[in-house]
Amino acid sequence: MKNKVPLFLLERPSSDSFIPGKGGLKISFIEKGIHHLADVIKTGYIQWETASSDNFFQKIDARVKILFLLFYIIIVSLKKNIPSEVLIGAFVFVLTFLSRLEIFNLYKRVLFFAFIFGFLIALPSALNVITKGEIILPLLHLSKPYRFWIYQIPEEIGLTREGVYGVLMLTSRVMNSLALSFFVLYTTPFTEIIKALKVLKVPDSFLMIVTLSYKYVFIFAKTIEDMHLAMKSRLAGKVSNAEGRRWIAGRLALMFKKSQQRCEEIFKAMLGRGFSNNIKFYGVKKLQTRDWVASAVFFIVGVLFLWI
């Protein structure tokens, strides 16, 4: 049966009815909270849906995918030229296409993060104030160079060839790393990812903590969203900043109490199901032929990327 995300889950919560009027309804902290929480729940849901489909990369064992992710992310971090990064990017794009993921949605997210964390943050480093080199685009001409403590500002300020190359290199590296992470994430259920970490000798007790925590993040996120919506639906006037802060502090404290109560309940449930001090993750399957073939192919391609 094909899963589809219900449309209502893809819609952002409406804020039309809360456009500040003369009354000065200031509830942006509630709106932002709801958007933030809705994004968390939506991301989890979309990931679960795309990861549980039956396409090329989804069929491969999670252990192979984890090793693939680590191997390729390390390759991306080791490469020192743009053409290699472009080739790796193209390879990930082909894998995304073969796995029938929604390319537009995945790359929209990748490009957004790469633009902010790769391009925008690194852009000022293209100036000759930071990276010395041949100026290819002069931007400002000062009457004389300035010196302040350990900082030097040259007479002519502009983008250097070396600086621009550095920015493009960093952006492509950030983009490839993000594309790889999202690709594996969108093709592997989170619980499988965690189980697969066993190949890296991560202790079972630590994996159990991460798995439990992940499940309860979504349960609590829904609870907090309900609290925000309940508050929003009861508001008829202005909320002062101080009142808003008190409300948030109260909700956070309530969440803390709830999480502590849940801890007791989960512990009793674990005891009731025969839990002992010895935690073991079961259900690890044997690798199939296609997993071995995929591993070999990814390894050979990875070594080729390292070599070029």
Partner: protein, 228 residues
Amino acid sequence: MHIPDGYLSPQTYVPLYGVSLVFWSVALKKINKELSIKHIPYLAMSAAFSFLIMMFNVPIPGGTTGHAVGAGIIAILLGPWTAVIAVSVSLIIQAIVFGDGGITAIGANCFNMAVVMPFVSYWVFRLIKGNADGGARLSIAAFLSGYVSLSVAAAVTGIEFGIQPILAATPDGRPLYAPYPLSVALPAMALEHLLLFGIVEGIVTVLLFRYFAKNEPGLVYSLTVKEA
């Protein structure tokens, strides 16, 4: 504060994985000793709470909103060693599920936000609190623990960025990873956190602390546990 992939050289992220690993092992051992078999659900719920703190947008003076990292208040509420695991798990989930912070940078991010921040916060709180049982001194201690811990963590992050051009550059001097030298990265990271984000962290820490100290003082680790 979340370092993405691509900014740190292997010479930085590999040792930081190692350092974080040491703290995780010690933390798990310490917690296991204190809590025995109950530690799994306790840490899982603490990690979930650590994750959720960042979901709350807090109105701050000036008409805008901000959210905290939360490692400071977690350390005060649960103790620094529990905070190491709780914040680390929360950061690992953020990196794997939401792409917030890089996979190669998990060790560095955990070191900055799950090791440096909780320990600085906890000890600043204890130092300023002294023997006081209540009053403004406790609130000041809570504010400063959030403020100082985030600022120190930001400075450490700035140092990690700033040493990249020294550690990894082409023969002609072009940086291969984070491009800004220490003279730019450190002041940039430290100043923005000292002047803005540190204050938000301090406000959230003091708000939550006051609520707990008034209504649920028994749940606050740093008010109930006496250090040897």
